[in-house]
Symmetry: C2
Subunit: 188 residues, 2 copies
DNA sequence: CGCGCGATTGAGTAATTTCAAATCTAGTGG
DNA sequence: CCACTAGATTTGAAATTACTCAATCGCGCG
């Protein structure tokens, strides 16, 4: 568990350094979870009790549209947090699926425990606030790119911004993320 | 100023009730701003020092694409917060424009002051954390709707979810928000 | 060696955009 | 109060774009 704790501590220290005391308190609330490629972290219809910090591996969050086609909302890898946040926040059954594109290791934090941490440790409230701000900004960029740019532009920008991803994810999934058919993507 | 302060206090109390002391501290950091229809709250290229809580009125946030067409990221009205959050967060010049669709009243909060408030008042860190979470979830829904649904479905859902908006916003703006040409929208 | 999955290519189809023109509407000045 | 004008909306028709369906190609794995 130590190696995972040090991952978490380093992750948090991007924004705040915790004292030993704070750290001992916080780290208790996380639990380790491992999944293999193709396994579900979250499945549509389930209750979503936890959010997950990805220690290693890569997942995709997606929904299925009325024609049965995957619509990928986001890919998430090391140092990203992932959950079905709507379901998580409002205690609803998941509308999303999250499944592992690679073997994965996660640190899980329940909703209740996150609230406890944030009420107790001022720095952690600010940590999650800043994380959430970043996430918000990232999604706003995504909305803009969906609306302003063609799928081809989105593709080349993704190649540029996150070349790593292209190596780790099959093109049909990239297509589902960019919002075009795989045939169209392969004509770029 | 009292009426605006009571608006703010009520707004915050959706999540937390502040003590008199806390409230006196917090309220000092907000300043009032009024603009008329068609005036800019934020203009592309400017520094963005503040975020704004809308007390009354309605604004649109948008960018201009390479063909000179408006792409509307969001509408915001009473009780919404608005800024160019990328620029605000990272101290970059604005890429967005925010302008008033109606006469507006805002309560402005600078980045530095927000940080002060959040470092000082634990409840406010949690308040902004929760606000940001909500915003994140809202944007995630928006990404999904852009990818899963046709513009026509998005239109009828908007009519359903926010009928108020249709009254207050010309259809050409709705088109720019939904991601279709105004001609196509008028054929629905 | 052959199977299966992912990626590519081709052809026809459906949907949306663009350009153009006509119509409608709200606000202005006389 | 009415006429006028600018902006907003609608409608038509052509052009563009992306989609679907189908067939083919390529590669890794049993």
């Amino acid at each position: 568990m130590d190696q995972y704790n040090s991952f978490l501590r380093k992750h948090i220290s991007e924004f705040y350094d915790l004292t030993e005391e704070e750290w001992n308190f916080v780290s208790e609330f996380f639990t380790l979870k491992k999944l293999r490629k193709h396994q579900f972290l979250i499945q549509q219809g389930q209750q979503v009790q936890e959010e997950f910090l990805i220690v290693s591996g890569l997942v995709k969050s997606y929904e299925i549209d009325e024609n049965g086609k995957e619509v990928i909302i986001q890919f998430a890898k090391e140092n990203y947090w992932v959950s079905d946040y709507f379901a998580f926040q409002f205690h609803q059954p998941a509308t999303m699926n999250v499944d592992c594109v690679e073997d994965c290791t996660f640190l899980a934090l329940s909703f209740e425990n996150r609230e406890i941490i944030c009420e107790k440790i001022h720095k952690m409230a600010n940590f999650f606030r800043k994380k959430s701000n970043r996430g918000f900004i990232g999604l706003q960029q995504r909305v803009l790119s969906l609306m302003k740019e063609t799928a081809e532009e989105r593709y080349t920008q993704l190649l540029d911004k996150d070349p790593d991803l292209i190596q780790r994810v099959p093109k049909k999934m990239l297509a589902a993320f960019l919002g075009v058919s795989r045939e169209t993507l392969s004509r770029f």
